[in-house]
């Protein structure tokens, strides 16, 4: 053994040979990294070549189209189909035309938008997630669209419309000369096809079908200039049902068997300002890219491409924005708070926060009946007191960092449905205590907990989804608020699957959650007493006949002004009754790269990307 020891000791020195070995290993590492980089560069070059080929293909298409009309190609933006229809008041492209006149307006560059989730399907009707919808709205056109600035309806594929006095027939006059992105004309047949396609039992779109069930039929006029939607009964959303339908090309979707369609993931084609490069080959995980539709019937947008990158975690999304890998993101309140405090980031970006009528609201629902017996929350005074004990403005500051507004009912404070005269119940501990005394909560036990008329301590469990958003923080703040009045709140966190179980079995005392809303929301499912049944969403067993009447009537009223009066009444009743403690509606928050011009806040969030542009000198993605 001795020789081995000696040898080991001798070899412990870091000799020249080791130095070479070490250097060789480092060199090897560098070579590998460089090779990878080279490979990536080649890949990028191939990508850019294919993009260029595609751009040229599009240019050729435009020229072909123009030649087939016997005309010389006009510069985009002065498309013959639209200039004819530019009755200024009804011009759907007024804002785009205004943008074209702005200094520095130029075509080109891309918008890279960071999605906060992965998209599973892009095929219309089959996809259900919000992000897929954000892609589709640039590809599919509807008959009529809502002007984001005024919330008024503006013509799109239809140039005009008439509603029969009984509200049972809506007739749309079709715009002439509109083509799908593959050059086929869009006609009344495509509108009829879209309706029939959705109503086909074999197509896997039960949601859209049940929504459209109120439409009894869709027929086109003899000359094909008009389509009429026929309804069985008056319904407040009947215009929206017809107007908002994304028109699908018959020649494209019609060629698939229902089973093929149902199994598809990326079949997306329409007549919108953008199109998929290949309307059939998108798959989950593949980068979603829309290219400008050079055959678009309207005014062409400035941006050449809309790219949608998917992120499964917030930090990666925020880092990608900070690094300039994406141009647009919708941060969470805490991210937004953090981002606007980073001067270099603020310097090279623009940010927006605003109250959006399409943001939902957060609430706490009080269960009024448990195991067949009324609970202490069945008393309206108790529910009102529970609201008045909470300082919502402080909650909003602490939990939403100020990026929310308090609500007094189920409608967004900026929607027409909301009655502006209704004021939310104030934070008033004195009044709340008085209400509780009136309701029979007069004594306290040794632990300082309020005793009810039946002598039981006022203790309740507040059930909330664990690990989701900021519920935890909110519960702690509420617990604190109620403790001051001698009410004990026991937090009851449940993971989502068990949470919904509890909700559906009405097995809870109080529960907190959020609802989504629309510009005009139907509150039937949440507050109409008929929805106490299994499967309805009146899981708190709340009933007010006056409210039921107002909701029923509003849903039957086609005239918007008359309907709003009824919604206002519903709002007043709900604010008074407090079946929920209405907490807040989150603000919409956005960060966009500074090079984009004409980014504006409208009544419906940010304006369309179609109106944005980047001055030539600042083009980023098309520079190469």
């Amino acid at each position: 053994m001795p020789p081995v020891f000696e040898k080991t000791r001798m070899e412990n020195r870091f000799g020249l040979k080791d130095f070479f070995l070490f250097s060789f290993l480092i060199l090897l590492g560098i070579v590998i990294l460089l090779t990878m980089k080279q490979y990536d560069r080649q890949w990028e070059t191939i990508q850019s070549i294919s993009t260029k080929i595609d751009d040229q293909q599009r240019a050729i298409l435009t020229i072909q189209d123009a030649l087939s009309k016997g005309a010389i190609a006009l510069p985009s933006g002065t498309h013959p189909a639209t200039t004819a229809a530019s009755d200024l008041k009804n011009d759907p492209f007024q804002h785009l035309r205004d943008a074209e006149k702005m200094p520095g307006y130029a075509r080109g560059d891309w918008l890279v938008y960071g999605f906060g989730n992965q998209v599973a399907k892009l095929t219309p009707l089959l996809s259900t997630d919000l992000y897929a919808q954000r892609v589709q709205e640039h590809v599919l056109d509807s008959l009529v669209t809502r002007d984001k600035y005024t919330l008024e309806w503006k013509p799109q594929l239809a140039t005009a419309w008439t509603i029969s006095p009984d509200g049972l027939r809506i007739t749309f006059k079709m715009r002439q000369g509109v083509k799908f992105s593959d050059g086929e004309p869009l006609t009344a047949d495509d509108v009829v096809f879209t309706y029939k396609f959705i109503m086909n039992e074999k197509i896997a779109c039960p949601r859209d079908r049940s929504y459209l069930e109120r439409v009894k039929d869709v027929v086109k006029s003899e000359n094909g200039d008009e389509v009429t939607f026929i309804y069985g009964e008056p319904y407040f959303e009947s215009f929206l049902l017809a107007a908002g339908l994304g028109i699908m090309p018959r020649h494209f979707y019609g060629k698939f068997k229902p089973e093929e369609f149902n199994q598809s993931v990326g079949l997306l084609m329409g007549s919108g300002a953008y199109r998929m490069e290949n309307p059939e080959d998108w798959k989950p995980g593949k980068l979603i890219q829309l290219v400008r539709n050079e055959r678009y019937w309207g005014v062409l947008p400035a941006l050449e491409r809309l790219v949608f990158k998917e992120f499964s975690n917030e930090i990666a999304l925020q880092t990608a924005f900070s690094n300039g890998d994406i141009d647009l993101m919708e941060p969470q309140a805490s991210q937004y708070y953090d981002m606007i405090r980073q001067p270099p980031l603020v310097e090279r970006s623009q940010h927006f926060d605003f109250v959006n009528p399409e943001e939902g609201y957060r609430y706490v629902a009080w269960n009024e009946k448990k195991n067949g017996k009324p609970t202490r929350f069945a008393d309206k005074r108790v529910r009102q007191a529970m609201t008045m004990l909470v300082n919502r403005d402080r909650l909003i500051q602490e939990i939403m960092l100020g990026y929310a507004v308090a609500t007094s009912g189920p409608f967004s404070p900026v929607s027409k449905q909301s009655d502006p005269t209704v004021k939310a119940l104030p934070f008033d501990i004195g009044r709340a205590k008085k209400l509780l005394v009136d309701a029979g909560f007069t004594k306290m036990n040794d632990e300082g907990i309020l005793l009810g008329p039946d002598g039981t301590p006022f203790e309740f469990k507040l059930t909330y989804p664990s690990g989701v958003g900021n519920y935890e923080k909110m519960i702690i703040a509420l617990k604190d608020s109620y403790a001051k009045a001698g009410i004990k709140l026991d937090p009851d966190p449940l993971e989502w699957a068990s949470f919904t179980d509890r909700l559906n079995n009405k097995n809870f005392e109080a529960i907190t959650l959020g609802w989504g809303v629309k510009i005009e929301s139907d509150i039937y499912q949440e507050f109409h007493s008929s929805q106490m049944v299994e499967g309805g969403d009146d899981f708190m067993s709340y009933k007010n006949e006056e409210l039921d009447k107002a909701i029923d009537e509003a849903r039957r009223t086609v005239d918007e002004d008359k309907r709003m009066v009824l919604w206002h009444k519903a709002h007043q009743i709900l604010a008074e009754d407090q079946p929920y403690m209405f907490l807040w509606t989150r603000k919409g928050m956005w960060f966009a790269d500074k090079r984009f011009q004409n980014v504006k806040v409208t009544k419906l969030g940010l304006n369309d990307y179609e109106e944005w542009f980047v001055p030539k000198a600042q083009h980023k993605w098309t520079k190469k």
């Binding site: 490979y39 930090i315 499967g535």
Partner: protein, 312 residues
């Protein structure tokens, strides 16, 4: 050897079937209903309809229908959570990503670990030994998610490299691969060092040196080959770790792999998806273990993998 292979291959489906059954019952008995997934309630009729669509009226109909489908068509059915996706669709898009990442990490761990271990053993108590020990210590004590977060903060957030949000470049593999490889690499380095030291003290190594063979040849051809046996047996679990343990790393680096679906499926009680991911992961684990056993025979022909002892 062939008999051994055949018997293992016969066991293969039996083990998978057992895993399928156990997973199925566990997924079935946990509270929570995969069909009440939205906050808006479903009517009882709609709920029943949904159950019927998924053949999930009761556990027997479910088990019979899906096990049949899996056996006949290797089809795990539609995801209960995402109406839009079939389990096979998800596997098809996410599995290659996870496997690429897992294999890359495994290769990094193996090359790095064996390299470090060998150098440390040959230069015992020297600078390189100390260096390799430090790296191994960091690797073992630093959880993958911390390493991933640190790499992310340092490289992606501070140095702005590599760009994120797109998966497809080779460069996208580097950081997550290293984060994932750190732990197995540390183990492999320590294993190699210990067994290498053991072998280097053997008579046959000294004889080889005495014969006049160069040190490199002795280490490379005689010592390393034998020292690798314990490393080989660790490769099975290491592969399991890099292939399945990538959830957090995938999340940090925004990689569209299978890890997130695996975890989400459990949270969502997405029974078809749980079964799909578990079976696929099990399949890879079993395959890796088999490959490791077979590779014993090549590295050291004296080991009889067909005997009970060698089968361990």
């Amino acid at each position: 050897m062939i008999r051994f292979l055949i018997s293992r291959l016969v066991q293969f489906p039996l083990i998978l079937a057992a895993i399928y059954l156990v997973t199925f019952f566990m997924a079935w008995v946990v509270p929570g209903d995969p069909f009440q997934k939205t906050d808006k309630n479903l009517s009882p009729q709609a709920l029943m309809q949904r159950r019927r669509e998924f053949h999930a009226e009761n556990w027997r109909t479910f088990l019979v229908y899906y096990s049949g489908r899996v056996v006949r068509h290797a089809d795990f059915g539609q995801s209960m959570q995402y109406d839009e996706w079939s389990v096979n669709d998800i596997l098809k898009s996410a599995l290659p990503v996870s496997i690429t990442l897992g294999l890359f990490a495994l290769i990094v761990a193996l090359l790095g670990g064996v390299g470090l271990g060998t150098v440390a053993a040959v230069r015992r108590d020297g600078l390189l030994d100390w260096l390799s020990l430090s790296i191994a210590l960091i690797g073992v004590s630093l959880p993958g998610f911390v390493a991933a977060a640190m790499l992310f903060i340092f490289f992606t957030a501070k140095l702005h490299w590599p760009p994120i949000g797109e998966w497809g470049h080779l460069r996208d593999l580097v950081l997550p691969g290293v984060a994932l490889a750190l732990l197995p690499m540390a183990y492999i380095a320590r294993l190699t060092r210990v067994s290498m030291l053991d072998i280097l003290g053997n008579d046959y190594v000294r004889t080889a040196r005495a014969k006049g063979l160069s040190r490199g040849v002795v280490i490379w051809k005689h010592a390393l080959r034998n020292a690798l046996l314990p490393v080989l047996s660790y490769l099975g679990p290491a592969a399991a770790y890099t292939l399945t343990g990538s959830f957090v790393v995938e999340k940090v680096f925004n990689i569209p792999g299978l890890g997130q679906h695996f975890v989400n499926s459990i949270l969502n009680r997405d029974r078809t998806m749980i079964l799909g991911t578990v079976i696929v992961y099990s399949f890879f684990l079993l395959t890796f273990n088999l490959l490791v056993d077979v590779s014993y025979a090549f590295v050291d022909p004296r080991i009889d993998v067909t005997s009970d002892r060698g089968d361990a």
